[in-house]
Amino acid sequence: MKKLLSGNEALALGAYHAGVMVAAAYPGTPSTEILEALAEFDDIYAEWSTNEKVAMELGMGAAYAGVRALVSMKQVGLNVASDSFIAASTTGINGGLVAIVADDPGAHSTQNEQDTRHYAKLAKVPMLEPGDSQEAYDMMASAFDISEKFDTPVLLRTATRISHSKSVVEVNRNRVAPAKQANFRHDVEKYVMLPVHARLRRPLMEERLVKLAEYAEALPYNQIIWGERNLGVISSGVAYQYAREVFLNASFLKLGMTYPLPQDLMRQFAAGVEKVIVVEELDPFLEENIRAMGIEVMGKEFVPRVGELNPLIVKESGCRAGLLAEPLRRQKVALSQGLPGRPPVLCAGCPHTGIFFVLSTMGQRSKLLDAKGKAEKEGKLIITGDIGCYTLATYPPLRAMDTTACMGAGIGQALGMEKAGVGSKVVAVIGDSTFLHSGITGVVDAVYNKAQVTIIILDNGTTAMTGHQNHPGTGISAQGKKTEAVELERVVRGIGVEDVKVVDAFDMKALRTAVRSSVDNPELSVIIVRGTCSVRLRKRSGQRAVDIEKCDDCGTCLLLGCPAIQKLDGQIYIDATLCAGDACTICQQLCPKKAIGPVSGKHD
């Protein structure tokens, strides 16, 4: 049966058909849809874990118990899970363990652009890289087989343009019945990594790599496609697709297993062509490994190592390398440059808007921009931020965020600034899911070391940015079952924070009072700002409108940065199709002229 599947859907279906029994993940673009798809099957166990490290450990446990387990995450998630991942490589597994890690070349939705392939080398595990959805589906079966055959976790590396592209998949397998009943066999030399046991495992890891490299020679995913012999292209993943479209007549070595590499196959290929170019996204990972084998290749001196590739960039690289004669036609169209950008923004009715407006105005950052878009003024509060939709409060007009690094970092950074002795009050802002992921240990540190900061937890009851996944605070499991909800206020009080306030995200007066009181408190304080994510509002009613008779164009409402409040040709108006109405009303609460109210009478 043919299906048009995204890479992520194909990976999930491939894993299901390969007999996976346990799946765990923390949401992260572009990997999220893998677990979402697996959670639909009720004959397996799938969970949103608290973070990627817990997910990896869950996968280890399940694999130790003899069943096939899958963990999935975005590339920075593997940083969080790396300790467990390398531990899993050291002990080996029993049932198959596959870790899908999704890179984000071009940093479409990530704080960095790291190349996950280095982890395969670091952890000494085999790595597979699909080039489209069909391969994503097929490779999952091989990944579990390799994992069990070689007693190793397998890294399956995907990327945004594989995970989030749809292509045609011939679905030609059914679910294989899980071979084994979960059953853990005691084996302390394998599973208890006392140094004395770890030293026993080390040579086994090296032997494993040698055997894997031999296995890679005959693996059908590593494939030579002979064309004309004057040029050979070595490539993998989506880069292969670009190269295939650009170098029409060349010979190709397509690598589906990119660690360890099939040395004989590569030598055979290199010997069969006049010259070789390596086309790969991000770092020269293949190139350096191939050069180390003594094979002369072209690569990153022509192909960019920064950003996402595309066919045009690969073509330009080919031209620079003198491999393509065809001149480039690249005509810019006048005006398509220098247009107003359309960056993502906090949604209309977002429960984060009110609190950031308070922080922005109290910190004296917010004012109407001048014609050049500048409203520079040093803030009176330092606001350390975190990863989530609320990072968008960095943009004008709110400009209410000073740092964002990685999951959970804002709290530790706030402590560091306070201990360093900055003059301003430091406020750490973190979302509910991010707090549970890696903010809790920061609060423990703050209590223990008598921090004098304010921590604001933005509780919108979901993991919003990745598409509204449940988390431990929501009380609903990944598979939609009711479960125990972890209450944020009980967590922070239990850790020992005395000053804990819970405030309605849409009550501007209460927000201002709470922030004022917490900032004035010389001790540690926590504010939980609670309000439903507007995207999840089932029914919208009472959309607001601007009364032009009363509006004096002061622009205060525009300082919220609400996308429903628009101004075109000198007129401020509210787009009723975007406005969250009665659920929000913060613009109405702010308007000095009382010019904003519900749309009266009939609809527009």
């Binding site: 048009l4 673009t29 479409h108 939705s109 343009r161 989030h164 592209s165 749809k166 292509s167 045609v168 989506v238 697709q241 670009y242 295939r244 479209e245 595309n310 066919p311 045009l312 073509k315 036609r329 690249r330 005509q331 810019k332 169209v333 006048a334 005006l335 398509s336 247009l339 107003p340 950008g341 359309r342 960056p343 993502p344 923004v345 906090l346 949604c347 109407l368 921009l369 014609a371 050049k372 878009g373 939709c389 968008l392 943009y395 004008p396 007009p397 919003a464 940015m465 598409g467 995207v535 525009l558 940065g561 996308p563 409040i565 628009q566 101004k567 075109l568 787009d575 199709t577 975007l578």
Partner: protein, 200 residues
């Protein structure tokens, strides 16, 4: 069978760009083509630029279309049409919904939204086949502004030599039954509308 067709569908988050281009991909697959389809969404759920690329041919390699090789540009918003105009090939087709959604920088007064004349002039640097459609008004007339994406799909459909029944089957399979009727009406309306529109 066509040799190849590359379609770029652009809009603003929340307009239904991804669903419409998904259906377009499914239509092409049902008609026997190889298909690749990819979306670029940026980091948030709503409000940013959304770009969907659909490629159909006997064999498709890259999911990304080369700049200057798009056969049909479908824009659910005018500024986004201009932003992606350089992707259009000379002589291609541009179908533009006559809707302005000013980005924040325009509302805040730091940037200017281009005039209709500027938008048309820019697109005409690439092609004379520019269709301006009052899609948002038509969707409102149908009773739900959210049918805009199916209306625009209807507008595109006559430019792609695939039987209309395949389009309808794919829409039928993809949409929930409670909104099927109005969306099917929007598709029909779009298909009819495009034949009445003068080149803008």
């Amino acid at each position: 069978m066509m040799k190849k067709l590359d379609i770029l569908m652009v809009g603003v988050g929340g307009q239904g760009n991804v669903l419409a281009s998904d259906i377009l991909g499914e239509v092409a697959m049902a008609a026997g083509y190889d298909v690749k389809k990819t979306d670029t969404l940026g980091m948030a759920q709503r409000g940013g630029s959304v770009v969907s690329q659909v490629r159909m041919a006997n064999r498709v390699w890259s999911p990304l279309i080369k700049e200057g090789e798009v056969d049909i540009l479908v824009a659910l918003e005018k500024l986004e049409a201009v932003r992606w105009s350089h992707y259009l090939q000379a002589g291609g087709v541009a179908i533009v919904n006559n809707l302005a959604v000013p980005p924040l920088s325009v509302s805040l007064g730091t940037h200017r939204y281009p005039s209709d004349e500027e938008i048309k002039d820019t697109l005409r640097q690439r092609t004379n086949h520019v269709y301006f459609i009052d899609g948002t008004d038509k969707a409102k007339e149908l009773g739900d502004i959210r049918t805009l994406n199916m209306f625009m799909l209807g507008c595109v459909s006559p430019f792609i030599p695939i039987d209309v029944q395949i389009w309808k089957d794919c829409i039928f399979q993809r949409l929930p039954s409670n909104i099927l009727e109005i969306n099917m009406a929007a598709f029909d309306k779009g298909r009819e509308e495009i034949s009445n529109v003068n080149l803008g």
